[in-house]
Symmetry: C2
Subunit: 316 residues, 2 copies
């Protein structure tokens, strides 16, 4: 069994990164509480730096490096929030970052990574090309590779969102997060189970990208084939470390439909007046689909991020 992340890793991560991250607020909605007959609390990682929880893990990984490692620089492959998180954290530590991005990555994301001072190495838009290019970067530059989720430092960093959440709202009966690669859910579940024996840790996935659900139920890692979900942050499959952590600490995983994800996303925009990406709306969709018993309970939901393309909204 892999050496799973523990509460102390999360606490150390929080101590390490707290001066770099935003302590994001917790928000509520009276109308929502009436609708679902529960008290729902949202931890707003859409307000986190780079617009997503990913900066917690990224900054923890970067600031965990030894001086010798830091001098080698860092690399990763990502076209999404992890790329920006690593770029910004490396910039803050004053070290080199080389980000491998597919050549069809949206210009706005390429520019964001460049804006944080990282170097970009373009590659063909396939997982094979990304991995090969990253390998080449490592060989050429000696840079330290930072995986987006299958990494203890990353998981521990993501767990700091739940750590703060329990400080802000200690009496949660349930804590929920979306599952993509599983870094956020792993950190959330470890924090929940170690900080509060009574809190259920529930992961939520789109039906159309249900590898964590399948893996959890069948007890073995089953990567998703051709995920086709509006929740673009959740198309990734679990890694070995996140699977083992989720298996041990998560109480249950439920899935939701695409239409409920869009409905939940729109509810958050319209009623709460905050911008969240589709992935963020996945746990709320589970409440709308009544996938768990919540009546009169206190439910904590981690809103994973707010990076959306305002030109193409899913309800248009």
């Amino acid at each position: 069994m892999a050496n799973l992340p523990d509460l102390v890793d999360i606490q150390e991560a929080h101590h390490r990164i707290k001066k770099y991250i935003h302590k994001t607020p917790v928000m509520t909605s009276r109308q929502l509480n009436e609708r679902v007959e529960a008290e729902v609390f949202f931890k707003c990682e859409n307000f986190q730096r780079v617009g997503a929880f990913k900066f917690r893990g990224g900054s923890n990984a970067i600031f965990s490096l030894t001086e010798a490692e830091a001098q080698r620089g860092v690399t990763t492959h990502s076209s999404g929030n992890h790329a920006q998180a690593i770029a910004l954290a490396a910039n803050m530590r004053g070290i080199r970052a080389i980000i491998v991005m597919p050549e069809n990555a949206p210009k706005v994301k390429v520019n964001a990574v460049k804006g944080y001072g990282a170097e970009i190495r373009f590659c063909e838009p396939t997982l094979e090309a990304r991995e090969a290019t990253a390998k080449q970067v490592i060989e050429e530059s000696g840079a330290v590779f930072i995986h987006p989720y299958n990494d203890r430092r990353i998981i521990a960093g993501q767990g700091t969102a739940a750590l703060e959440f329990f400080q802000q709202q200690p009496d949660l009966n349930v804590i929920m997060a979306p599952i993509g690669g599983g870094g956020l859910m792993s950190g959330t579940a470890v924090a929940a189970k170690k900080l509060s024996g009574d809190t259920l840790a529930i992961g939520v996935e789109p039906e159309a990208a249900d590898d964590a659900y399948q893996s959890f139920k069948q007890g073995k890692l089953i990567p998703v084939q051709h995920p086709d979900t509006v929740a673009d942050g959740l198309r990734t499959s679990l890694g070995e470390l996140t699977f083992q952590t989720i298996r041990k600490y998560v109480d249950d995983i439920v899935t939701v439909s695409e239409s409920t994800i869009i409905q939940a996303m729109r509810f958050i925009w319209e009623r709460m007046k905050i911008i969240v990406e589709p992935s963020s709306a996945v746990p709320l969709a589970a409440l709308f689909e009544k996938k768990l018993e919540v009546e009169n309970k206190k439910i904590g939901i981690i809103l994973s991020g707010g990076n959306v393309d305002l030109e193409s909204l899913p309800w248009l």
Copy 2:
């Protein structure tokens, strides 16, 4: 000269309504501060009840009524945020509210008003018809009329946003708000001038609905003809009371173009991850157009509300 609202009215209003309203948060954006070379603070009335600052004035008016007045019920004509504010506040006080709305008002707004338990009286979509219908309602029911802005109670209520703002961020060099009918700007300017002699109170209008600018510069009330601006909350003209208050307490009024309003709105959505209506973006547009000296200053902006139609965004 009209009997202008004073700081004590605002303080009494705050005391009266503080258990009903949200104390809205103040938000900042590092990226914005770098761009405009100033420290900008946003008072987030988009998170206020009914999604706009209007609930402050509405609740102050409703809870200012004597018992005898309250028993008569209240009425107003509005198809926008004021209607919802009056409906919700009347519901909270447990009194009758009759809202005159144009028959072409968006269904979502009609339903919101109904949802708060108010009665709706439809009329032709002209100002004349609205006023005539409201007059008829008053004659038939004896209801107390509550004007959306040309009313001391309303102005005092709107001023509580600035009152809170100065508690949250006491050292503002400039405070800015958009001007439609002028209720928010009047309350903001009175609070600013009486609480802080050093703070400039600046109003901002779309060029396409610049009646307050024209009236302020020419020293007489000049209603706007055919306002055509994306900032739908700012198409109204000043009333006598708001004009006199603005004339006395506001330091300057500047105007901005439609394209900058849209650009500023989009900036707030993309970078700050919050939903604001076009009217809210008007003061930020003035910073983007460099309409005032802000370098190294602390600038407070009141974001008026967040009620937008998510089906039709101005940049699409």
